[in-house]
Subunit: 554 residues, 2 copies
């Protein structure tokens, strides 16, 4: 067997240099396993795009080698890409009970068979080809999260998954320190560590802190209490319910995704919901304000969410009333800051008291801060370290942190999506690249919107479009109808008649010149029109609408 053949390849396909669409392939000879298959919500400049998924062409090129997908937890950025992936690559999917409970719903919505799902528990060991895979318990902002250790012919790989070291988790399921210590002691070849909070000093606070804040706030509130958080933050919802019970309040869960998640989590035994505490939203008004807690979606200010509709008095069942206290139990995901503050403003305008500030103890992160990251590195003691799950600055900060603990810089890889990390028994190195990147999903189209379409959308969004149509009789070399001008998103036409008339005049001039010169290539005529008209419009309005000349020929 040649040297190359005995090397392992690790290929991150998403989640490096970005927060979202996490996915990593691990290959040894003819076997590939994949950790996570997430999606990403599009950045602002991806106009009209619904979601972004990883480019899996590498996996499709090696279709018969892919043996399984392993999931760390049930967040969208780890499982949201599955429906797209499984349609092209139907393989067994391993994950915890709750994770697969969430995945099951997604697959059903997409008419994909759930036969592939295989539930595993922490400390489960699964053998797949040359890999022995060991799952271990971690804390995060969704229950039943796991990290993954992969025993391979070249050594042990440890992927932390999304992790925080919560010493007092709500479900009592502390990170499996014993297993991590054991792996560290055996010797870990490569560790992949969650970098999300690598620029946050200190420790991330325990989820229980939020429970204490709820206790404090619920104890003081005399009106209704509305708590909004991520629909997947089952323990947060649990704490709101438990605190409500303590203060003798009923709880109504409002918002489709939250109702869904509470349904799955309680059915699978991840929630403890006291009998009779839940009420339907239609019945909220039957109870006195001081007897009600509403737990709802919309913590990111999403315009169609339940909370946003309450804030605009547009929700069918729940309106905001004077005396209500709204607790925003979440931080804005970067990019959502304005949406969240708009919602907060609207809630204040409706007369609510709103608790949203940082430092109020109404939210804690699900990711390890620097001190926890240090503990993990010191426990796992990897020979090589690859920071994952972070934008570039987070990966860099995590790399520097590892270096400060004594891991030589040469054994830390700040890698890019698609880069191949080749691992032998003694050494690892970066060796080449496979294609990796963003696949844009727009409606039913997966990957059919590219740079040209996006560039056009951008221009259309800025200054709109002016369409110039003219019908020409080719034989007579004569304009028989038009030029007509239609604009959208450019100016308010009713108040711009003169501008439009002048524009027509410019088009006529351009056409006349072409006719006189007997120019007959449409492309040249169109270019003339575009040029003349563009200059004229910029001069008159300071705007550059897309100009689209259309010539009809009879």
């Amino acid at each position: 067997m040649s040297e190359t053949e005995t090397r392992l390849q690790i290929i991150p396909l998403g989640g490096l240099g970005e927060i979202g669409k996490n996915m990593m392939a691990i290959r040894y000879q003819d076997s590939i396993i994949v950790i996570d298959a997430g999606l990403m919500f599009p950045e602002e400049e991806l106009l009209g795009i619904d979601v972004v998924i990883p480019d899996i062409s590498y996996l499709l090129e090696n279709k018969e080698k892919v043996k399984a997908i392993l999931l760390t937890h049930g967040h969208e950025d780890h499982v949201g890409g599955l429906p797209y992936v499984l349609k092209e690559l139907y393989v067994p999917v391993y994950g915890s009970k709750l994770t697969l409970g969430i995945v099951q719903g997604k697959l059903k919505d997409n008419n994909i068979s759930t036969d592939c799902l295989r539930v595993v528990r922490p400390r489960s060991v699964v053998k797949i080809g040359p890999f022995e895979i060991e799952f271990f318990r971690v804390s995060h902002s969704i229950p039943d999260s796991m990290g993954i250790a992969v025993h391979t012919p070249v050594g042990i790989l440890v992927h932390t998954g999304d992790i925080k070291l919560d010493q007092t988790p709500v479900d009592g399921q502390v990170v499996d320190f014993t297993k991590l210590a054991e792996l560290g002691e055996k010797g870990v070849m490569v560790m992949f560590g969650d970098s999300t909070n690598a620029d946050k000093p200190g420790f991330t606070m325990s989820e229980k802190v939020v429970g204490n804040t709820f206790e404090d706030l619920f104890g003081r509130c005399t009106g209704r209490i509305i708590v909004t958080t991520f629909a997947s933050n089952v323990h947060r919802i649990q704490q709101a319910i438990s605190t409500a019970q303590k203060y003798d309040r009923k709880v109504s869960i409002v918002g489709r995704s939250m109702v869904n998640n509470v349904g799955i989590a309680s059915e699978l035994g991840y929630m403890d919901i006291p009998d009779g505490i839940l009420i339907e939203m239609e019945d909220i008004n039957k109870y006195a304000p001081e007897k009600v807690v509403i737990v709802t979606t919309g913590s990111q200010g999403e315009p169609m969410s339940a909370l946003a509709r309450m804030a605009t008095a547009d929700h069918r069942w729940v309106g905001i009333e004077k005396g209500d206290t709204v607790i925003i139990s979440a931080s804005p995901i970067p990019g959502n800051e304005k949406l969240v503050s708009k919602t907060v403003d609207l809630l204040f305008r409706q007369g609510a008291e709103v608790i949203y500030e940082k430092g109020m103890g109404v939210h804690v992160s699900g990711h390890a801060s620097q001190e926890e990251q240090k503990i993990l590195l010191n426990l796992i003691k990897p020979k090589y370290f690859v920071p994952v799950h972070g934008e570039y600055r987070h990966l860099m900060k995590h790399a520097k942190l590892a270096e400060s603990l004594g891991i030589p810089r040469s054994r830390i890889f700040v890698a890019e999506n698609g880069q191949i990390i080749e691992v032998g028994k003694k050494k690892a190195s970066i060796a080449g690249k496979v294609s990796a990147g963003k696949i844009l999903v727009d409606g039913l189209g997966v990957g059919d919107v590219g740079n040209i379409v996006l560039r056009d959308r951008k221009q259309l969004s800025q200054d709109g479009i002016m369409i110039v149509v003219v019908t020409i009789n080719r034989e007579l070399n004569q304009v028989v109808a038009g030029p007509d001008i239609v604009t959208r998103g450019f100016v308010y036409v009713r108040e711009s008649e003169e501008l439009i008339e002048n524009a027509k005049e410019k088009v006529r001039e351009a056409l006349d010149i072409c006719m006189k010169r007997r120019i007959s290539e449409w492309a040249v005529i169109k270019a003339q029109v575009r040029d003349k008209l563009g200059k004229h419009l910029y001069e008159k309005t300071g705007r550059r609408p897309m100009i689209l000349p259309i010539i009809m020929e009879i």
Copy 2:
């Protein structure tokens, strides 16, 4: 004289429920004075809009009554609207030397005479009609900022302007506590207070703190240092220059607006630039890295700024090199978070060390936090309080803060732009409303882009446009050219031939039906086409492009 005639009216025209376009009118009988004339940068949903200015129709309706505009300081959200206002309403403009220095440049750029400018100093008193106006020194993130006290027939009004209580300002010009105490003692009828940081507990740190951080960082850096901050933050730039001198480094100012501001500020005596310390950016590479500091624009990640161009290796003179330290000496303005972190990532990728984190002491706010706001309220002791300069939640928080200090809720007005606050000698109350709002500026057009244009831009940006053109011979009731289909921003046409062919087929079907039924109103035919085609496209693609049928008639 009737009761009404002896009342004063205060009308905020901008800056309430928003951060930006600050403007407030104060009217007594036939005299109106205006405090500030700012602009606002458009929110994301205002596609293609360049800036937003206040609706000044109230002022234009009372044109002959407007006697003067008083400026508190030189930031865009206080002076940026002036060129638009002065074009319609040319009146004297009062402000400090630096403020008017900045305004002067703007007026010249817009071909507006600068004859209206009247420099005043702190403690200057100006008499305008029934008003005696007294300016007083405040600290803020631009030098030469002032608050304004207006002595009126119904009592004293105090407007804090943008203010922080910096006990160790860089220029030694502490807030005029004496004047505030004196006014408070005389009795202030209404106070208008800066609410920007009303949700921040404690005190805002002194600008000097940043100087100390610079000292610390400059002392440790062995490569080039690049500091980015707001171009108007003259004291920040001063501190960078002073620290550079201490560590024997030359300074290059890079970025047009910063070069401008440093020019104005040093010419007017607001900066102390040691001889020979400034170097041209073309000469940076003539010096050893440890001998150079670059101070530059781009602290908000603005894509065309100097720093963003350095980060993408697109700047003509300055490239980022390994060993460079970039100090982001600013906080992202809400909405700019993603742009800033993208720039930070790019800088890291180019090999720089980047200092950007909160809590690193590289930036302090220019606005008072809660404890300072309390001091101001207790010093000024107003009978009535109107929180200004803040989004709705900030105004509410500021109102609650005032209430907690003993001002009765009934004497605190959380007002809206356009609301009239009527003040008599004993009482003030909200009394009616004038028209106020956003005027959108797009290119050369002021106010010509409204909801319809924005709605179209929104739709165009999401799913693009499909244009269907057909030429019909009216007499023959027959299609003589087309249907032709042109799309932009919808699909990549080269890979969608079948989709486009099918779309044409749908259009032909719709036209056939109309022809057969002898429908001759274009509007009906267009509606048919739009309807049939829209449904078809949504079914096939899940997208809803704008559909624009154009019928040419010969």
